[in-house]
């Protein structure tokens, strides 16, 4: 039962990852991460 849950979880999140990549979220993540997030560092 637990094995089933583990592998189901893996498949579901792999699908989410693939969906995110197909929606071009990786590029957005790069764009966010290469810009200094001023509010994150306490400015703004």
């Amino acid at each position: 039962m637990r094995r089933w849950a583990t592998y189901s979880s893996l498949v579901v999140f792999a699908a989410l990852l693939a969906a995110g990549l197909s929606l071009d979220e990786f590029r957005t993540a790069v764009a966010n991460a290469i810009t200094i997030c001023l509010s994150c560092i306490g400015i703004g």
Partner: protein, 297 residues
């Protein structure tokens, strides 16, 4: 002689591997590389000048903060990439990255080594991190929007002491342009950091146990992850050495796969009769020679 454990070496090497571009600390710039899109499964601020990866909690918040604005422009990006990355890591190893790879976890363990009175973290506070995860990472960024339709990164902006330490302080120190803009928010964030540092000296990993949204998220997978702790109760002597070794004060034989467990595996090492072990594909079961006297106990 002072000797580092294998886990401590992994923590140190992981901190260096996640933040290798040290010269940027002096220039006040951050790394501009495609690797910054890769979500690392630990709390490591991507505005840290030396960081080469993305903090998944920051990435998730940005996705939710921009969700409605992007939808209004026809772009659907609901943070599936970051959620999927975290879910895969969680399904494989649960909170293992907290115990072995997180630079902020390492800092907390080192600060706790400072001698002095020590306090336990009240168990009730461990539920706080789920509220923080739900509110500051998912709900508030998506719901409270500015005039343009953007939300805020609530956790990063108001709470995250890792961001203040790894990004805020170094950038303010090295970048005059940023230094000229600091105000009350920065003072608040430094105060939060100082409060946590003081707490870290007297309690073991208080941030991970009470506030960290990433720990909360990965901990949800502890019960189903491929990596899991096993207890052979027929061999357990009830000596309590595993629970004494546990940095998060778990009663290990009763709750080996608790969401609080950071998978440091100290309990496995502490168990002298080998009734505790971890399960993972290709991991051979630990065999411990037990003296006949011990078997009789």
């Amino acid at each position: 002689m002072f000797r580092l454990t294998r886990r401590r070496w992994v923590q140190i090497l992981s901190t260096i591997a996640l933040n290798p571009i040290v010269p940027h600390f002096f220039t006040g710039k951050i790394v501009q590389a495609q690797s910054k899109g890769v979500c690392v499964p630990v709390l490591n601020c991507y505005s840290c000048p030396a960081a080469v990866g993305a903090c998944p909690i920051g990435t998730l918040q940005h996705s939710f903060a921009a969700l409605r604005f992007r939808i209004s422009t026809g772009v659907i990006q609901p943070g599936l990439y970051a959620l999927g990355s975290l879910g895969i890591v969680g399904s494989l190893v649960g909170r293992f990255p907290c115990g072995w790879f997180c630079p902020f976890g390492l800092l907390q363990e080192l600060l706790y080594k400072i001698p002095g009175p020590k306090l336990r973290v009240p168990k009730i506070l461990s539920y706080l991190k789920y509220a923080i995860l739900a509110l500051t990472v998912f709900i508030l960024p998506a719901v409270i929007l500015d005039a343009v339709g953007y939300g805020e990164t609530w956790f990063c902006k108001w709470i995250c002491p890792a961001g203040t330490l790894e990004a805020g302080l170094p950038l303010v120190a090295a970048n005059a342009g940023i230094r000229s803009q600091i105000g009350l928010l920065f003072a608040w964030k430094v105060a939060v950091l100082v409060a946590f540092v003081l707490w870290m000296i007297v309690s073991m990993r208080p941030f991970c146990r009470t506030v960290c949204p990433l720990g909360a998220l990965l901990g949800l997978f502890n019960k189903v992850s491929l990596l899991r702790l096993t207890v052979d109760s027929s061999r357990c002597l009830g000596c309590g050495s595993c629970s004494k070794a546990c940095p998060v004060d778990l009663d290990v034989p009763k709750e080996p796969n608790s969401p609080e467990c950071i998978r440091c595996l100290k309990c496995v090492k502490a168990c002298e009769v080998g009734c505790l072990d971890y399960q993972f594909p290709l991991h051979a079961r630990r065999e411990v020679e037990v003296a006949p006297a011990d078997q009789d106990r």
